[in-house]
């Protein structure tokens, strides 16, 4: 019944984003979020796209760059206890395919949002700020960096 489920991965968090079908699931869930927001009758197209972009970046920041450690016990005596999920991906190896995918997807969403908001000034400011907040932590120079001592322990 449980044939093939045993793995010797010390920290499964490091390879969950390399799993089969997870990138497709990610794209589909962003699409579903967008559809839900489009169904709200009093939002205009620009507002819907900006909201999609902002909510996507906010959730990504919370899940990848804020929450630390693992929800399960690991046999490595808590090596990743102070690391965010982004820092745990592939045990800290930079520029792997998951990291590239997750860096490019907010940029793609930003380009689509800029187009559909017709490059309006207010929307531009909000979307650019949101994009920067989710792109900067992904830079290799920011690996393990905690600004102003926030989220350190």
């Amino acid at each position: 019944m449980n044939v093939g489920v045993a793995h010797s991965e010390v920290n499964p968090n490091t390879r969950v984003l390399n799993s089969r079908g997870i990138w497709l699931a990610y794209v589909i869930s962003v699409g579903v979020l967008h559809l839900i927001l489009l169904s709200i009758p009093f939002f205009s197209i620009s507002v819907v796209w900006t909201l999609t972009n902002v909510i996507h970046n906010l959730v990504m920041y919370l899940l990848l760059h804020t929450v630390k450690g693992t929800p399960f016990e690991t046999p490595d005596q808590g090596k990743a206890r102070l690391l965010t999920h982004w820092e745990q991906i592939d045990y800290g190896t930079q520029c792997t395919s998951s990291r590239k995918f997750l860096s490019i997807s907010p940029v793609v969403l930003y380009l689509l949002t800029s187009f559909y908001t017709k490059y309006d000034h207010g929307h531009f400011l909000i979307n650019t700020a949101s994009l920067l907040s989710v792109l900067l932590p992904k830079l290799p120079q920011f690996h393990g960096v905690r600004l102003f001592g926030l989220n350190k322990y």
Binding site: E73, P75, Q77, G78, K79, R81, L82, K152, Y153
Partner: protein
Amino acid sequence: PPTHIITVNGKECVNFASFNFLGLLDNEKVKSAAQASLKKYGVGTCGPRGFYGTFDVHLELEERLAKFMRTEEAIIYSYGFATIASAIPAYSKRGDIVFVDEAACFAIQKGLQASRSNIKLFKHNDMADLERLLKEQEAEDQKNPRKARVTRRFIVVEGLYMNTGDICPLPELIKLKYKYKVRIFLEESLSFGVLGEHGRGVTEHFGINIDDIDLISANMENSLASIGGFCCGRSFIIDHQRLSGQGYCFSASLPPLLAAAAIEALNIMEDNPDIFRTLRDKCEQIHKALQG
């Protein structure tokens, strides 16, 4: 098995080189219980506790030990050294702080090494030194309260030290525990079945409530005339080791004949509580005679 009289080069000598404190290693009842279990189960269990290696004798021994030590739950390990060496890293991880006595036994040292925690050694049985270390840690905690909130602190002591033969000052340790909010892990390998009116160890010896100690770990290889070890304490604490105790999950379970021998030894200990009185009297007698 070697008894208290041993023949060396044809001469009959008293055997001081054994941990068989209660003489149960040669006891007929223990031997016959082991042999009956051997006929029933065979020798080995061919599996860890989680994969078809749990027998009724294991569960019975755990229940009996928990009842004897008056705690909620007990867990059995199949090798005495691995007991404390698995228990410490199950709770203490990187970044946690462990205050341990300098004269801690080798098993504790290996457990601490496996835990990757920060180790602070205090001088043997020196409560003033321990308090100094605790105060220093408290000062550091006040400088960095956010780090302190995620750091776990433990004190690891032995009831009767293997390396020096001293008893730890448990009442003072309990006071320090509640003053500085540290958890106590007590290693009772030599004191189980030796100290205390009914053999319950150093907590009974000092008259301390067993709930004040967070984890008691002991060897069954000394007074209990078996092999292996056990940990006992609150269910909340002991249950964690069923998945995180490396020596529990990833080793074959205790052979049932040894578990049956331990149960029989426990029966003898419970039925004849005067053997502890005899043991203590004999120890004092020998101590006085050897002092000259």
